[in-house]
């Protein structure tokens, strides 16, 4: 089975078969899109909440929540997904360094908030989520079924 890795700021798309994997989600949020009929899956590894309009213009669209969600829709539709059938699952947004900032000001917290806001704006239902906490995550989207498995070190992998 093909396994495609999605690095920080990237978006990858697969159709029918294979797995999209992102390893090392700390404060970042993994956002997966899936169309169950055409079996198109897409996964973004979102780094920060808001894009910078003046600097970082050449940034990958997957890097910021506000550019990642429209880019995910665009790429999934181009790969054959129906815009109306797309459903999202999200994981990540942890707060590893609690010595630095309180939870509600952490990058992870802001990332999760921004991703959810964007998904609401674009009217994409969130059907699974495993976010916040203090631990890093690995996220896998199985494109043949739409199943997402999230792994935290020292815990049993869970399906969302």
């Amino acid at each position: 089975m093909t396994e495609v890795f999605v690095n920080m700021g990237e978006i990858r798309v697969l159709r029918s078969t294979g797995v999209l994997t992102t390893v090392g989600l700390g404060s970042c949020v993994g956002v997966s899109f899936y169309d169950p009929i055409t079996k198109v899956g897409a996964l973004a590894h979102v780094f920060l909440a808001e894009s910078r309009a003046n600097s970082d213009r050449d940034a990958l669209p997957g890097k910021y929540a506000d550019t990642a969600i429209p880019a995910l829709i665009d790429l999934a539709v181009k790969a054959g997904a129906s815009r109306e059938r797309l459903v999202a699952k999200i994981a990540g947004g942890a707060h590893l360094f609690s010595n630095i900032t309180p939870e509600h000001l952490s990058v992870g917290h802001r990332n999760v908030k921004a991703v959810i806001e964007q998904l609401n704006i674009y009217d994409i239902p969130i059907i699974g989520k495993d976010v916040a906490g203090k631990r890093g995550r690995k996220m896998k989207l199985y494109v043949d079924t739409g199943v997402v498995i999230v792994t935290i070190i020292g815990e049993e992998p869970k399906q969302i």
Binding site: N7, M8, G9, V23, G24, L25, G26, S27, C28, F47, L48, R52, S55, D56, A59, L60, K63, A94, L96, F97, S98, N99, I100, T101, V107, G108, N111, R135, G136, R137, K138, I153
Partner: protein, 201 residues
């Protein structure tokens, strides 16, 4: 630009030497091998790929510099090495870290990062204020990603990485210093007047 990277490399060299000397003293003068730190200017994509073994479990002691001089500093070692070090410090013989081992590691990291920062402060004649350090045990990739995001790294970033190891204790680790770009300029201005690259080494 090379000149600036050389300058930074020299700063890192002195800082990391102080840090590892402190570690060596805590380990009853165990000899530590230290690589000359590499100062590298990386694009965002390169920084994202800086860590090879993303799923490896590591122990990281991390602090952020917040006052005049801003930046991020971390002491990262593989989990097995952290256990070895904790056992050595606490006189234990465990396969996992317990609370006492973790707090010993945090203290060692605190002393090492503190030595590094003190050296930077003395060299630049600037007060540097670090936050209280914290310890995290997690996937290498998640830790690295959180450091970059917390530092607000969105474009080019300068990274100073020093590797150290010792055969006596099967111990190895990294000291990573990510200076804020603006601070780097200020430091360079301040120190470069009395620093000439051709005279070093």
């Amino acid at each position: 630009m090379n000149n600036k990277l050389d300058f930074l490399q020299e700063l890192g060299n002195i800082g990391a030497s102080h840090a590892t000397t402190a570690l060596s003293q805590m380990l009853q003068d165990t000899k530590l091998e230290l690589t000359v730190p590499k100062a590298r200017m990386l694009s965002f994509a390169e920084a994202a790929n800086f860590i090879a073994s993303r799923e490896e479990i590591v122990v990281c002691i991390y602090t952020r510099m917040i006052d005049m001089i801003k930046g991020d500093m971390a002491f990262i070692m593989p989990f097995s090495c952290a256990v070895t070090l904790a056992n050595h410090l606490t006189g234990d013989d465990r396969e996992q870290l317990n609370e006492i081992g973790e707090s010993a590691l945090l203290e060692v990291g605190n002393i090492m990062l503190g030595s590094y920062i003190t050296a930077l402060s003395l060299l630049s004649d600037t007060k540097i204020k670090p936050t209280v350090p914290g310890i995290v045990i997690d996937m290498n990739g998640a830790i690295w990603q959180s450091i970059l995001a917390g530092a607000g790294v969105t474009e080019a970033v300068t990274i100073l990485d020093t590797k150290f190891s010792t055969a006596e204790l099967e111990l190895s680790g990294h000291l990573i210093f990510i200076p804020d770009n603006a601070v780097f300029e200020a430091l360079y201005q301040k120190v470069s007047s009395c620093w000439k690259p051709e005279e070093t080494l």
